[in-house]
Symmetry: C2
Subunit: 463 residues, 2 copies
């Protein structure tokens, strides 16, 4: 159990922690569009870590910089690597926010703001736990290393090279990533698999400029119509992705896994309503909604644009149209093979009169983690201690590219233990983090350090 002094410190400092977290959220640290704000946010973060007694530094990482920090307490003690990211999703559409996305506010027992949960708030839970041990617990129970990324929301394009270059420095006995969520309110969870990602962008170009659709319509191939036809062909009538060989490397779900998921407290209709949907619909035939989200690969358009998009009418055949497409991949699919199949599909669906271009925005491999280890045990115990409920073992449909990189480059199966809730509006307007989850998360992070020392000292060091 957590020393009383640590618990009491966390309880006594809730307002101070909220104030500090609001400072963190105030940076619009969007990897693609606000590099200067990312750099400022990284400096702020390193400064805050230094104030907690860590040695911290900002490291250039190809795009927005990363932050590396360390607190070495005892060479004989196990070492934990904590990963988080300080970059956030763009806040658009802005007019749908009820509060300012980068001026976080507390109402209705929630903290509202971009990054409140994903991932500034969850990373902050670890920082508060470290602070509590340092200032009230007599020092950290384990050696701690931190890696905080600045480009997770754009697919971590430079992290593989960065982690390779810093593999020795970041080596550890266990790793934890808090960039996820509970299965449901009151049901904590540890995630043992994540989907990968292949994110591409297709542009179709037709006439040199927008041209009059009355004068020329019928004689000229329309880039929007053609692109829509391509997108429409990307799924078959059963909702399966139509790329050649797309399912060849998909690891089938076991009967046992499917049975355990069916036993989870999941109400598909209520889930649909939580997203504002009367009906779920869509998806691959033959699988339940949870199976489709966690264990089956998908393809979704994330954005499309072409021609006149203002109010009213403009009668043109546009010069071009483009679409962003992301594919979520499951073990053992390979993003590079998938992208190659996508390129072939586009080539085969580019009509006469159109020039096509495919750009790859991001790739991440899917990952499957060992569910049994001393670190996993520590995670389960910490969650049970903090939230008085045993965690479910689940998968997650999202991609956290660092997980696979830590597995492959550092040889560690990270503990994926998140504190958000499914209705936190991640990547959406009105992102929020419930205060109970934030403060419970701090307790869980503090307990995890303790449990990890016990587990790894007793059971030997193993990720």
């Amino acid at each position: 159990m957590l020393p009383k002094a640590v618990s009491e410190y966390l309880e006594a400092n809730r307002d101070a922690h909220l104030a500090k977290l609001k400072e963190f959220i105030a940076f619009p640290s969007i990897a693609n569009s606000r590099p200067e704000q990312c750099a400022r946010c990284a400096e702020w973060l390193a400064g805050h870590m230094e104030s907690l007694g860590l040695s911290a530094r900002v490291e250039a990482g190809g795009g927005p910089p990363n932050v590396i920090a360390e607190a070495r307490v005892d060479d004989a003690a196990p070492t934990l690597l904590i990963y988080g990211h300080y970059d956030v999703q763009p806040p658009e559409p802005l007019d749908e926010w009820r509060t300012e996305p980068f001026d976080a506010v507390v109402t209705d027992r929630c903290l509202w703001g971009r990054g409140a949960s994903d991932d500034k708030g969850q990373l902050f839970a670890h920082l508060a736990a470290i602070e509590a041990w340092q200032r009230a617990g007599g020092g950290l129970p384990v050696n701690v290393k931190l890696l905080v990324e600045g480009a997770e929301e754009i697919g971590s394009p430079h992290m593989e090279a960065f982690l390779s270059a810093h593999a020795d420095e970041l080596s550890a006995d266990a790793a934890i990533i808090s960039d996820g969520e509970f299965f449901a309110d009151g049901v904590p969870a540890i995630t043992y698999a994540l989907r990968g990602l292949a994110y591409v962008e297709v542009t179709f170009r037709g006439p040199a400029a927008d041209i009059h659709s009355g004068l020329h319509g019928g004689a000229v191939t329309n880039p929007i119509d053609s692109l829509a036809r391509l997108v429409g062909a990307l799924h078959d009538a059963d909702g399966r992705v139509a790329l050649e060989g797309y399912y060849d490397d998909v690891l089938a779900l076991s009967d046992d896994e499917r049975r355990r998921w069916r036993e989870l407290p999941f109400d598909a209709a209520a889930y649909g309503r939580s997203l504002g949907l009367d009906a779920l619909g869509g998806g691959e035939a033959g699988f339940t909604p949870l199976e489709r989200r966690w264990g089956r690969p998908t393809l979704d358009c994330n954005g499309i644009v072409g021609g006149y998009t203002g109010e009213g009418s403009k009668t043109i055949i546009p010069a071009s149209a483009s679409v962003k497409v992301s594919m979520r991949l499951v073990p053992d699919q390979d993003p590079e093979k998938v992208v190659a199949a996508f390129r072939r599909f586009v080539a085969a669906h580019t009509p006469r009169g159109i020039a096509s271009e495919v750009k790859v925005n991001a790739e991440a491999r899917p990952v499957l983690l060992a569910a049994e280890s001393a670190a996993m045990d520590a995670g389960r115990a910490a969650l049970t201690e903090a939230f008085a409920a045993a965690p479910a073992m689940i998968r997650c449909g999202a991609s956290v590219p660092i997980t696979e990189l830590i597995q492959r480059l550092l040889g560690l199966d990270a503990v994926l233990m998140g504190f958000g809730l499914p209705d936190d509006n991640l990547h959406s307007p009105n992102e929020r983090f419930r205060l109970g989850q934030l403060f419970g998360g701090m307790t869980a992070c503090a307990a995890f350090l303790n449990r990890l020392r016990e587990g790894l000292t007793r059971g030997g060091k193993s990720g």
Copy 2:
């Protein structure tokens, strides 16, 4: 032949006319987005007409106002109704213009600016012709009425009601519309048919807000994917529009008409190159490019938008996506029947988990005009006199809704006699009007008034 004084007046006043036309172009009179500029432009136009000795007034028309003017010279003389429009297409995309769209400039023997040809420049040719007759020709040879519209580029939504209400006041013996073009450089033309228009906008709505495509992808129907599938289904494999009954009312092209079009000097490859296309492609199987543009109905997407359209990646399933679709109709298709078929098609292609909405932006009936009349003869003679070449009798793929309204409500088959050239970049960046066409157009308009008096006085009054 035109009196020498009239010709000389036009020649002597070219610089003054260009300066005045630039004033006209300087108003960004875009019907949808700039109502205040439309109102100012209408006032300017009425003022200019008054200065030419016409009685002119601005009339509210439901949207941007219309301008009505008249010069009555002789109750025994025939009366001509001249139609034009002062509204213009939006200038976007702005970064593709080499000059300012509303600050017209003369270079390379062209006038460059939005509306230079469509339709401010062509309307101005009539005003210059009227001016020349009034100031140098001893007064107008016929009674003249003018109707200048402010909402042609958005499909003339209020013109039917307006023309009905002003039918007596605008009654005439003949009508002329100069809102078109030559068949080719050196080949003047009179247009005897126009396509109609049904312009609709479809919105697909899914989740209440943009949601995380990793967490939810697979379980939620994606509005972009669904809309693309609908758009992709709007044409069949032969390039035919897939709406039920779409071709039922289509008047077949006669063998004679097809033969005459094949004899026109048209080079499909050169036409494609003029639009920046390596290959034409697309279109309905079994018809030539000219037949597809002039005599067959089409369906084109004019704009599509949904989800994240900024730089780089955002991993969302968007709340909604929408597309603008315009259908060009030929005699005897009925826009209302076509819109009803479109609505049924959307309903049948709206998947579970999506709510659809169809908005009708514009409707215009196709029109076929009598090719033989005293007014047509006057048009042919005037073009031959001004450009030293006999005009071709052609159709046009665009819609000029007033033509059908003048036919139906005033009982007049207008003479469609335009002075633009096919590469004037109508509705595109870098719209232009060649000076030779502008000044030749002034001469043709002046000659038309003269020829019309002769023709209608000799042959009796008939449209």
